[in-house]
Symmetry: C2
Subunit: 206 residues, 2 copies
């Protein structure tokens, strides 16, 4: 009956988590519709659509309820046009489930959005812990020239909803290059959520 | 209504977590009854009972249910007789709540015990993530010559039960010096838990 304690080593360069129970990866071509510059995206996909742009190692417990999932995210650096590489982003399917992200290597941002459309941006770097509170949509952005590696932890019954971002035409804010740094710009394709959709998110709390 | 996202920097040397919402510390004199060598403990307390031997920085969310608590533990190195410095140790008051510990600096052990009295020992060092599964009593041990600093994350409704360890006369295993290293030895004062007490722990699950 007892679940055995386990120990896992994180390689900050590769993002590999030893003794992970799962791994998934995203290739450039998987991120269709995410970036503003469709022509630049099509050109990148034609050139290197099969390239893995980020991957996740995770440990999932045997039993879901009350437990935790933890792991690592490795993100390649890069841009589509002037827009920095991002993860697909999600909100937890049970809305009132939070997540922590901890910088292991590289530098980037956590881009957060409330159901009502408020944007918050927090910088991640080694030794920086970002707390994503319940009910915030979140996406990681690699603004650096090197891979961004983070470890994460969240309640095992959280679930991920990826459709919410797609239905609003993306997140309200995009992160683009600005000289050697970055800046936040409005996403022209963004459609604010209706009161009914916001209420539906809030209703996922338990 | 929304909880604001936050960002926190961990100093691996001091264990300080910036923008923590809480901090607590243990002084040597607070750990009466923990160590095997009563005479050595009394002598240490007489000499430096007020000394802070470990402290915790934490961030606790506004709302408990479904949320996470995270933070850092800083443990001074040292021994009482031949026994390495330990934290008081606990099991979660809701038994089926896990915890992750991540090595930031120094080296040590996570000493784990199941309700039935099985011992597991996992080494912690920088970049090592230890998963403490639901229903395991756990205590940190600093086996190094430098401070042991770890970050941790656990469900915010877990709670801590410190009485269970005291009622069994401590944990079943002690960690003592063995040359330049460590070894595990039986705790002579340990009294295995009764079936009724084990059942009571299992009944705390939700």
């Amino acid at each position: 009956m007892a679940i055995a304690p386990t120990s896992h080593r994180i390689d900050p360069q590769s993002g590999v988590l030893s003794a992970a129970t799962g791994r998934y990866e995203k290739r450039l071509a998987d991120l269709d519709g995410i970036y503003a510059d469709n022509a630049a995206f099509a050109e990148s996909v034609a050139r290197e659509g099969d390239r893995v742009v980020y991957y996740v190692h995770e440990v999932r417990p045997v039993a879901a309820r009350g437990d935790l999932i933890f792991g690592t995210t490795f993100m390649e650096p890069g841009r589509i046009g002037d827009e920095f590489f991002v993860t697909r982003g999600h909100i937890h399917a049970i809305g009132n489930r939070p997540e922590t992200y901890y910088g292991e290597a590289g530098e980037g941002l956590m881009l957060l959005e409330s159901p009502e459309g408020e944007t918050q941006i927090l910088e991640i770097a080694p030794r920086v812990m970002v707390y994503v509170p319940p009910l915030w949509i979140h996406r990681s952005v690699n603004t650096g020239a090197a891979p961004l590696v983070m470890s994460f932890c969240y309640p095992s019954d959280s679930g991920q909803d990826y459709g919410l971002i797609a239905r609003s035409g993306g997140m309200a804010t995009r992160i683009v290059a600005d000289g050697a740094g970055w800046k936040a710009v409005p996403n022209a394709a963004y459609r604010p959520r209706s009161k009914a959709e916001i209420d539906a998110i809030l209703a996922t709390q338990d």
